[in-house]
Subunit: 136 residues, 6 copies
Amino acid sequence: MEIAVSRKAHFNAAHRLHVPLWTDEENFAFFGNCNNKNYHGHNYDLIVTVIGEVDPISGYLIDMKQLSTWIKQEVEDAFDHKNLNLDCDEFKNLNPTAENIAVVIWNKLRSKIPTHLKLKVILYETERNFVEYNGN
Amino acid sequence: MEIAVSRKAHFNAAHRLHVPLWTDEENFAFFGNCNNKNYHGHNYDLIVTVIGEVDPISGYLIDMKQLSTWIKQEVEDAFDHKNLNLDCDEFKNLNPTAENIAVVIWNKLRSKIPTHLKLKVILYETERNFVEYNGN
Amino acid sequence: MEIAVSRKAHFNAAHRLHVPLWTDEENFAFFGNCNNKNYHGHNYDLIVTVIGEVDPISGYLIDMKQLSTWIKQEVEDAFDHKNLNLDCDEFKNLNPTAENIAVVIWNKLRSKIPTHLKLKVILYETERNFVEYNGN
Amino acid sequence: MEIAVSRKAHFNAAHRLHVPLWTDEENFAFFGNCNNKNYHGHNYDLIVTVIGEVDPISGYLIDMKQLSTWIKQEVEDAFDHKNLNLDCDEFKNLNPTAENIAVVIWNKLRSKIPTHLKLKVILYETERNFVEYNGN
Amino acid sequence: MEIAVSRKAHFNAAHRLHVPLWTDEENFAFFGNCNNKNYHGHNYDLIVTVIGEVDPISGYLIDMKQLSTWIKQEVEDAFDHKNLNLDCDEFKNLNPTAENIAVVIWNKLRSKIPTHLKLKVILYETERNFVEYNGN
Amino acid sequence: MEIAVSRKAHFNAAHRLHVPLWTDEENFAFFGNCNNKNYHGHNYDLIVTVIGEVDPISGYLIDMKQLSTWIKQEVEDAFDHKNLNLDCDEFKNLNPTAENIAVVIWNKLRSKIPTHLKLKVILYETERNFVEYNGN
């Protein structure tokens, strides 16, 4: 009997989309104003979902306070009020697209969340653009 | 050709998380202020999803009015403006965590919805905490 | 490594639910006031999801601007500020239920989106009623 | 000691913006595709606010169930699943712009709500366009 | 040059509407199922607005962290995960209607916020019912 | 007979809160991580409200397409996907707090909107923090 439990979090960050292998013209042609050399930013909304069996005694799948603590440590403390390109080692050599940010967050949380639980993340870059990754 | 049709509903209820097998100290350590002996409460939002084939004549998967009636009878009339622990037989011996409430709702609706349709429920305890259950 | 990228769009349209094979009484009994002969209308919200592999160079699954252009051409230009029954060939012989509109949109977008990417659409007729279709 | 109490409602309707005094060309130039002769539609969200003194015994400004009943009678029964231009006498000679619909709703509710209470309405035509009217 | 700065907060609480002067029948007739003797509950959303002049050096009207701290101390610590009727002295002799809760919150915050700033609170009992109070 | 018409828009930008007159320590003590020297960012939501008389012929207070064009020219083209501190002359000598951004936007729009109409702006820096300015 599998259930999914989700927790919403958020962080505000600056970023710039840029591929060092490409010329400035190629970058602008591909990324448009997301390539602005002085950065722009977003309020990122994050939904973290863990999937598994409910404990029959407590009625909990996972302690939500523990999950919140992991999200705070791995995501909010790492990315909130940061410049993803300049301040975060995770994106030193990785373009901070929504896709890549979601994969990075998934990997960081995966290392914390017990292995018998499945993990999925949804990252909203804006209300109208979002990505989902579950490690498969 | 499978399609999913969803209907949103809500109910407002009081509850308390508590495991009778545990001491008061153990309950508070585990559930924190969700264990408050005088209860607290939530506006629960519910999304009920039924999945199956669309009828080629009507273009409906299911009559939404019928689905709404079932949700009203099984969920809203049972839980809205109630104390889940004290007023609802379903939680006399079951801790009313979001996980358990979702499973209870799924079972109640499953008995009504035609068996050729799959069923999934998502229950929001708050805007930031929610659970999903599909019977598997 | 599969990721899902979603884009939200919307359109405002009038429609009427009606099955020509049925009598007026049968139509009203089945569809209620959605059968109003003078039409009613909705703000439709659409979420288009494409699923596939992220390009390791750009960090993009798909160029969101390209996806937006396809949504504009195939959905918004076709349905926004239209009467689905009268103005849109797609519904000349198809009842414009949310289910059928979702399938039509999926088919229209499927013809544009590269075949190595999976496609899913979610169509909100109202905030409380929505359907999902992924072509299976 | 003045307090404001608000209640949200909604209705789904078709409409067309058109001024009979103007030529078809003038109407299209002014109203664009809102002038579509076959109508389009919206999910209208309505917020009704009444303002006055709280009753010191009950702690209520107004009985919300009574307010809901008035909104149902005057607004939802009148406009929901209707074509505002064709089905509603209020707009036989009045262009159903959001501005005019808000004024019509205010006038209809004003006749019901006790005169010692002030009244304000906010009407959302879409999530991004809305109007507010308070009778002054 | 006056500006308004708003901060959103929330708390989850149980309550019961009841006037001790009235009989049980009168209470039920007036408050309906909000009178349930075992309580029900809500996710309350609160918007606190302070109004005044922006400081020309910092560009701040008020330090939002300070405002958040006051909201936490006066509202969240006092009411979150509480039974308003049983756990909160403020409602020992005051019916916890949305109107009265808003006035209580306003008074509690008014004692903290500098007197040269105006104060307004909006309290959502549900997404569809909310009240506003500004002390006048 | 005065009515208010509102239009929602948005832009995504990077910014940093910093007062050049203050030391680095003073800036960090006052602005916290909003002072990050490498910037962070937000999805800003903007509500522009114009207030005046409805034209009795058209039923419009203002042509919403014209209003949208002004918002695009004055706000979105100026600030979207920009670094407010580095890319925007308006903030070369003005700290880009939400308060100051709202006043700048109001002044820019005021120069476009006909003088017989009143103007108000609400700027959401996040879903939980927002400011309102009406020029008084």
